[in-house]
C-alpha cells in the first residue's frame, strides 16, 4: 500500500519550510495543503488539537507535530535515503543541541522583530547579532554546520534565510553585510534544489509581514 503523506502548512512559515526541505531531501511525494490561519480547517484542528498550529505532517492518517520532531520522524521512517542526522550519538547530540539553540535564539527572538514597533527592536537586534556571532564561530571553515554535507542544523537554520530581507528592513541590520560567512553558507544551501524550491522569495515574505504589521497596528 502506498504511503499517504499530507503536509498542512502556511507558506511564510519557517517551520513548515523545514519539513518541505526534509520531504524533498528524501524524495517523498506528498499532498501540500495551504492553511488559512485566520480560518483554520477542521482537519488542522483535529490533527493538532493542542497547539492548532502548522506545520502538521499526516502520515497514513496519523499526525506528527512540531517541525523538528517531524524532521526526525521523516529521517527515521525514510531511513534508506539522504540521512538528515548523523549516526554517531555524540554528533547527533551536538546537532540536536544546535537546532534547539536555533529555535530559541534565532526563531523565538526574531519573532519580536516582526511583531513589535520598530523603535523597540534595539535590544532584540543586539541579541540576534550575538547569536549570529556564535553561529558564525560554529561554522568556522566548514561548508555546512553538519561538516562536509548539508545536515540537520543547516536544515533547521536555512529557512530563516527567507527573513533576511525582513530583518534588514525591520531590524535595521544586514545579515549579509555583518556576517559574510553565514551569508556564504546560506547561498551555498540555496544552491541545493531541495532547499531553493522550499523557501519563498524574501521580498514576498517581507510584503506579507508588512501586511501583518498593518493589521496589528504596528506601523
Amino acid at each position: 500500500m502506498a504511503d499517504e503523506v499530507i503536509l498542512l502548512d502556511f507558506w511564510p512559515s519557517m517551520f513548515g519550510m523545514r519539513v518541505k526541505i526534509a520531504l524533498a531531501e528524501k524524495g517523498i511525494e506528498y499532498e501540500y495543503k495551504e492553511e488559512n490561519l485566520w480560518n483554520k480547517s477542521t482537519q488542522l484542528l483535529q490533527m493538532n488539537p493542542v497547539h492548532q498550529l502548522i506545520p502538521v505532517l499526516i502520515h497514513n492518517g496519523k499526525p506528527v507535530c512540531e517541525s523538528l520532531v517531524m524532521v526526525e520522524y521523516i529521517d527515521e521512517v525514510w531511513k534508506d535515503k539522504s540521512p538528515l542526522l548523523p549516526t554517531d550519538p555524540h554528533q547527533r547530540a551536538h546537532a540536536r543541541f544546535w537546532t534547539d539553540f536555533v529555535d530559541k535564539k534565532v526563531f523565538d527572538v526574531s519573532k519580536r522583530i516582526w511583531s513589535t514597533k520598530i523603535e523597540e527592536n534595539e535590544s532584540t537586534k543586539k541579541e540576534l547579532i550575538e547569536t549570529f556571532k556564535i553561529l558564525e564561530g560554529k561554522l568556522r571553515d566548514k561548508p555546512y554546520f553538519g561538516g562536509e554535507t548539508f545536515g540537520f542544523v543547516d536544515l533547521a537554520l536555512i529557512t530563516f534565510y527567507s527573513r533576511f530581507y525582513s530583518a534588514e528592513m525591520f531590524g535595521n541590520f544586514s545579515i549579509e553585510a555583518e556576517f559574510p560567512e553565514i551569508n556564504a553558507w546560506a547561498k551555498r544551501c540555496m544552491q541545493k534544489d531541495t532547499v531553493a524550491k522550499s523557501i519563498p522569495d524574501q521580498k514576498k515574505v517581507y510584503e506579507f509581514l508588512v501586511q501583518m504589521r498593518k493589521q496589528l497596528g504596528l506601523d
Binding site: Y73, H90, A93
Partner: protein, 231 residues
C-alpha cells in the same frame, strides 16, 4: 572506572533538568560522578564545559560535554543500549513521546513557574493556563497509554515518564507551597494514576528532592519573585 568511559554530571539539586538526567543514568545503571554546582559561584569546570549558556546539567562523557537535558537523555539512550530503552522503537511512537516531552518540558513547566512567581490576577491567569495544559496532556497521553496506567516497572520507565516526574513528581510540594490543587485525581485521573504508579518505583521515588528542603527553596524563589530587591 576506565578513563574513556568516565561519566560526570554537573548539576544543582533543585533543578528538574538535572534530576531527569540523574534518573536516566540510574535507570540505565550507568556509574557516574556527580558534581554539585554553586550557581552563584560557578566552577571553572562548568564554565569550561558550557561556555555558551553556563547552565546545568552538563554531562561529560569521555571528556566531551553535552548540555540541554532532553538532548542528553536521547544521547544516553543511544549510547548505552544494554539498559532499558528510554524511547520505543517505532518512529511514530517516538514522535509522540518527543512531542509530549517537549510540551511538558517547555510549555507546562514555564507556565508553572509563572504560577510560582506571581500572585493576584497574573497568577490566576497562569494557573488557568497550567490547568488547561494539564487537561491537554491528560487527553494526549490516552494515545500513549490506550489501556490506562497499568503497573509501571523499572524496565519500562521511559523518556516521557522521566520528564514528567522531574517536573511534577514533587507536585505535593508545589501544592503545599501554593495552597492549591495541581494534580487532581478527579480532573486528571490518568495523570494522577501515572504519577502515583511512577512514584511506587524506588529509584524514581529516590530521585525526588527532600520534601521539606524543596518547600523551603520554592518559598524562597516565590518570595524573591514577589519582592524584587530594587537596584
Amino acid at each position: 572506572m576506565a578513563e574513556e568511559n568516565k561519566v560526570k554530571l554537573l548539576g544543582f539539586w533543585v533543578s528538574p533538568y538535572v534530576r531527569r538526567v540523574e534518573l536516566a543514568l540510574k535507570l540505565k545503571g550507568i556509574p557516574y560522578e556527580y558534581v554539585e554546582e554553586d550557581l552563584k559561584n560557578k566552577s571553572s569546570l562548568l564554565l569550561k564545559y558550557n561556555p555558551v549558556s553556563k547552565k546545568v546539567p552538563v554531562l561529560v562523557h569521555n571528556g566531551k560535554p553535552l548540555t540541554e537535558s532532553l538532548v542528553i537523555l536521547e544521547y544516553i539512550d543511544e549510547t548505552w543500549k544494554n539498559g532499558p530503552p528510554l524511547l520505543p522503537q517505532d518512529p511514530y511512537k517516538r514522535a509522540q513521546i518527543r512531542f509530549w516531552a517537549s510540551f511538558v518540558h517547555q510549555q507546562l513547566f514555564e507556565t508553572w513557574l509563572s504560577v510560582l512567581k506571581s500572585d493576584g490576577e497574573v497568577q490566576e491567569k497562569a494557573l488557568k493556563e497550567v490547568l488547561e495544559k494539564l487537561s491537554a496532556l491528560e487527553e494526549g497521553i490516552k494515545n500513549i497509554f490506550p489501556e490506562g496506567i497499568q503497573i509501571i516497572e523499572h524496565e519500562n520507565v521511559g523518556l516521557l515518564d522521566i520528564v514528567m516526574i522531574s517536573v511534577f513528581g514533587p507536585y505535593k510540594v508545589h501544592e503545599e507551597v501554593l495552597g492549591l490543587k495541581l494534580i487532581d485525581p478527579e480532573k486528571t485521573p490518568l495523570l494522577f494514576s501515572w504519577l502515583t504508579a511512577l512514584l511506587e518505583i524506588p529509584v524514581v521515588k529516590d530521585s525526588l528532592p527532600p520534601h521539606e528542603k524543596l518547600v523551603g527553596v520554592l518559598k524562597f524563589i516565590r518570595h524573591n519573585a514577589l519582592n524584587p530587591t530594587s537596584a
